[in-house]
């Protein structure tokens, strides 16, 4: 007898089984590959976190917050790298001049760092939003959209409708909705971007 003899189709089953096994409220990141790390981390964090959570009386159901935390975890590394690179490109002279004029650290941050970072902040924001909108692999692997439908986000729902229910037409219609949604967000964010940052003869 092997493990593959068993397969629990419903996510409810899986969620309750996970609970029985002491798997709890988790959040963990990945730099490299969302799914790859998530599986392993899920495995091993579960025992510890489940114990700790139960000990301090936390609710140990998986819920919406968990996949949000996962998303943050996997995206934070990229955001740090991109923002750091952009910050390093800001000339030191600006800070020196500001310091001579008596500007405080906070004021320097608001008047120099943030404006210079704007294009990169837009890019990072775009990246994060897309990551969140398309969150699929972690949900597929960890919660299966459950418990119930608590972690069934749009992209997971589309996948289920299309390739589980095999209603391709419905899936395509939903795909149009998610595409329209993301276009609205993208266009809105792009307006914050200085015009010459992407294209234009004075590229950088």
């Amino acid at each position: 007898m092997t493990a593959s003899d068993h397969s629990y189709e419903s996510s409810q089953d899986r969620a309750s089984l996970a609970r029985e096994a002491g798997l709890g409220r988790l959040s963990f990141p990945s730099i490299l590959a969302g799914v790859l790390v998530a599986y392993g981390a899920f495995a091993v964090l579960a025992a510890l976190v489940g114990t700790v959570a139960a000990a301090i009386g936390l609710n140990t159901d998986l819920n919406r917050n968990d996949w949000a935390a996962l998303g943050v975890g996997s995206a934070i590394a990229v955001a740090v790298v991109l923002l750091l690179a952009a910050m390093q490109a800001i000339p030191d002279e600006l800070y020196e001049a500001a310091a001579l004029d008596g500007a405080s650290g906070l004021r320097q941050f608001a008047a120099i760092t943030v404006p210079f970072l704007r294009p990169m902040l837009v890019i990072v924001a775009l990246f994060e939003i897309l990551l969140a909108l398309t969150a699929f692999d972690l949900i597929f692997a960890l919660t299966g959209g459950g418990p119930g439908t608590a972690t069934t986000v749009l992209s997971y729902f589309i996948w289920g409708e299309t390739f589980r229910m095999l209603s391709f037409g419905k899936g395509a219609a939903l795909a149009v909705i998610i595409a329209a949604l993301s276009i609205v967000l993208i266009v809105g964010l792009m307006r914050l971007m200085p015009k010459e940052a992407l294209l234009g003869e004075e590229g950088s």
Binding site: M1, T2, A3, S4, D5, H6, S7, Y8, A21, G22, F28, P29, S30, I31, L32, A33, V35, L36, V37, Y39, G40, F42, A43, L45, A46, A47, T51, G73, V81, L82, A85, A86, A89, F116, P119, L130, T134, F136, D137, F140, A141, L142, G144, L154, S155, I158, W159, F163, F168, G171, A172, A175, V176, I178, A179, S182, L198, L199, G203, S204
Partner: protein
């Protein structure tokens, strides 16, 4: 950066981020060397049974770990799907390298055209290309699946190489275009005065100068392909072409998964990418950002 009293805040914050980012890797690495029972202990006593390499041995040779051999009929079930991991790593590597090469082959000339040439519709097509990747992947899942099906490429490495190239190419073109623009035009003009055609200028002058960016974008495409899940799930159906993320997903889908074996498989999955990327990570980050979107 400024030293002194800010260090008191910087180091704890950096340590927190570091732990947040690295702890799962540590856990995965450690638990791959533990028997399953050590992981499921309540409370956890990870090192009580010592470190073992049975999990890795099972993946490669099929020798069932000692902990499972006791108990006869009642012994715990074992996740035998994990034995597909080496084959999946091979598939993933082939596909990711294919994606990397196609990105160089198509990305560099396209980016050069956008960086240097003037042609009608330049701005419009550039925005179209870069924005195309901003559409959520799941919105493209149905059409791509149908296209791959029509081409008869289901469960084929080539299908995934093509799909992943489409997904990564816009980003490569964007980064390479920004980088090419930072190369002083005078160098190219000098070569052109000597009668070198555009193709030669690109191959002999621009590409060597843009090496950091090429490495950066190439590896980025590699990693995207290596860890891409949705399309890999859709277009592969058997172990023949199944990639690592899909294989690991098929293991974890089972509620009776053997966690230690899963961790061992995950370790094996992460290692190649880590070994490939780690030495040139600095180089890669520089190549990706020095195009300077600032």
């Amino acid at each position: 950066m400024r030293g002194g009293k800010s260090a008191r805040f910087v180091y704890p914050a950096a340590a927190a981020v570091l732990i947040f980012a690295l702890a799962p890797f540590g856990w995965v690495l450690l638990s791959g060397f533990l028997p399953a029972v050590a992981i499921l202990d309540q409370p956890p006593q990870w090192l009580r049974y010592g470190l073992i390499d049975d999990n890795f041995r099972y993946i490669f040779t099929g020798k069932v770990p000692q902990a499972y051999e006791v108990g006869g009929q009642l012994r715990k079930m074992i996740s035998q799907e994990v034995r597909a991991v080496p084959r999946a790593a091979f598939n993933s590597a082939i596909i990711a390298f294919g994606v990397l090469l196609l990105n160089w082959l198509f990305g560099a000339p396209a980016a050069y055209a956008y960086a240097r040439l003037r042609f009608p519709g330049k701005a419009a097509t550039f925005y179209l290309i870069t924005a195309s990747r901003l559409i959520p992947a799941v919105a493209l899942a149905v059409p791509y699946f149908l296209i791959v099906q029509q081409l008869g490429l289901l469960d084929n490495h080539l299908a995934l190489i093509l799909v992943h190239t489409v997904l990564t190419l816009p980003f490569s073109i964007l980064i390479l275009t920004l980088y090419f623009r930072t190369i002083p035009q005078e160098i190219e003009e000098a070569a052109q005065l000597d009668g070198a055609p555009r193709g030669t200028v690109l191959r002999r002058i621009v590409l060597p100068l843009a090496l950091p960016s090429l490495v950066g974008t190439g590896l980025f495409a590699f990693m995207m392909s290596y860890s891409e899940f949705l399309f890999a799930l859709l277009v592969t159906s058997s172990a023949h072409a199944r990639t690592l993320p899909v294989t690991l997903a098929s293991i974890v889908q089972n509620p009776d998964v053997t966690w230690s074996l899963l961790s061992a498989g995950t370790t094996l999955a992460i290692l190649p990418a880590l070994i490939l990327v780690w030495p040139i990570w600095r180089y890669m980050v520089r190549g990706l950002v020095s195009g300077g979107v600032t």
